[in-house]
Symmetry: C2
Subunit: 98 residues, 2 copies
DNA sequence: ATTTTAGTTCGATAATCATCAAACTAAGCA
DNA sequence: TGCTTAGTTTGATGATTATCGAACTAAAAT
């Protein structure tokens, strides 16, 4: 486990995170979660951003897979919130610019 | 010129910046510029990252178009450097994580 | 046992993107 | 006038992506 390999792994993580944020709808999801300071459901976000529920589900998955969000499930409802640790590590100060 | 329109414009800028950073080679270019703390040419970067000069030119343009880099031209040579103001405004603290 | 609710997965489509070699431009040099 | 150097632009190709509706899963309510 040498330094160069860690560098490559960290970079792949960074690229994945940037890809996840390089979409207008996902950025809007992040902003609304940050500004409302609370968990939100798929339906709630879909209604607010005017996009179909399958598309919202797709974006929720993309954000969760790169570790930018958390999901808490209660019965059939899933609550989404920001995983601030990931932002702190890879994009410190970014959320405050929104 | 209302607040919502400014918000949309700022978001488009953000998405463009994230897209520019969501590529392994462009991220490597940013890192090498940050770590070397100096201007670098297309050829120099191409040699270091082992990619063709047309591809490097393509990435240089992508970074310049979103304002992440500066270009200073001397005769037929172009020197690239980071535009730190853009990082400070949209991604404060990011460069230091590299 | 249906029906409703919340979300996921699939299939299809249209669009964007990264890459390279080849051809090109433009400046400096012999 | 060529020749070299540094970078850009132009196809062409293969890969990935965002989007939607439709079909599906699983839990809750009636």
């Amino acid at each position: 486990m040498n330094i160069e390999l860690n560098q490559v792994a960290a970079d792949q993580r960074r690229v994945a995170i940037f890809k996840a944020l390089a979409d207008q709808n996902r950025l809007r999801i992040i902003r609304v979660l940050y500004q409302e300071q609370r968990e939100m459901t798929c339906s709630e976000v879909g209604a607010q951003l005017q996009i179909s529920k399958s598309t919202v589900s797709y974006h929720f998955k993309a954000l969760r897979l790169v570790g930018l969000t958390n999901t808490r499930q209660v019965a059939q409802t899933k609550y989404l919130s920001l995983q601030t640790a990931t932002f702190d590590r890879y994009l410190p100060g970014f959320l405050a610019t929104l």
